[in-house]
Symmetry: C2
Subunit: 180 residues, 2 copies
Amino acid sequence: METTEPEANVTRIMLAVNESSIKGYPHASISSRGAFEWTIQKIVRSNTSGFKLLFLHVQAPHEDEFEDMDSIYAFPEDFKTMKHRDQTRGLHLLEYFVTRCHEIGVACEAWVKEGDPKEVICRQAKRMRPDLLVVGNRGLGPFQRVIAGTVSEFCVKHAECPVVSIKRSPGETPRDPVDD
Amino acid sequence: METTEPEANVTRIMLAVNESSIKGYPHASISSRGAFEWTIQKIVRSNTSGFKLLFLHVQAPHEDEFEDMDSIYAFPEDFKTMKHRDQTRGLHLLEYFVTRCHEIGVACEAWVKEGDPKEVICRQAKRMRPDLLVVGNRGLGPFQRVIAGTVSEFCVKHAECPVVSIKRSPGETPRDPVDD
């Protein structure tokens, strides 16, 4: 990775990522992956030394025995030392994105936090002060949104930093569009 | 300007810009300039050949005698040939942004359209299919928003492309925050 710019001067983009509700255990949701790919292809482009990506995954409380909430993961090796991989659902997710960033050559950090996703994302955005927060969005219609709720709408309204919501492409919509 | 990447592959960012309501005639609004500076500093950065900026200014109907709605402006020289500069309020605005882009070395195009700004912006975004739409935002509180309305909220909700709304920094708020 090039380090031609001091870190204080990079553009820091926070990505809120979550797990898929359809493909089971260790996969990132379709909309999370779409938001990540959009960020790399449309914003970072070839300027990998100009950006740092901050991945945040928020887990609902007591979802599993995960005890390692305050660790920061920035290198693929950081995940290899883990003993109880099967207990740490969120980390599989972060490992995917951190590994992709290292392949591409863009700096990153990743966290897991516990709580209500929409509130924790806004709180972490306030704490970290990213230049941009990118959230995926299933692109549901108004009726489906009432049922499913949307984290992205809440963040667009309440986060203190600029927010962009990336809609899932129609071609990637699963059979039940509330799934992701 | 470097042209190392073919244009089909650049990231196209549409910026909706408007005139200041306080400083009079030819100036861009504080929030328009803030949205532009954010785009340059945080997104384009040093990668000037990777981006193209599309400036759209929407004028209310019959605001003046402007007859040149369908022209496209991409170079500072495009503005020099105009005869009736005083009749073309929106063009001063576009000239400012086009000149800034040429100083920086980033490709751009600029248009004026007539109509209701929020609807025209969404319609043009649908037509142009930018990768990102950037709109300035006065950062008004809920009470002021009811009175003043906000174009950015409408675009975030209705535009078909990703949208980011850039709040005016508190230090730049004029005496009457509804002004811009």
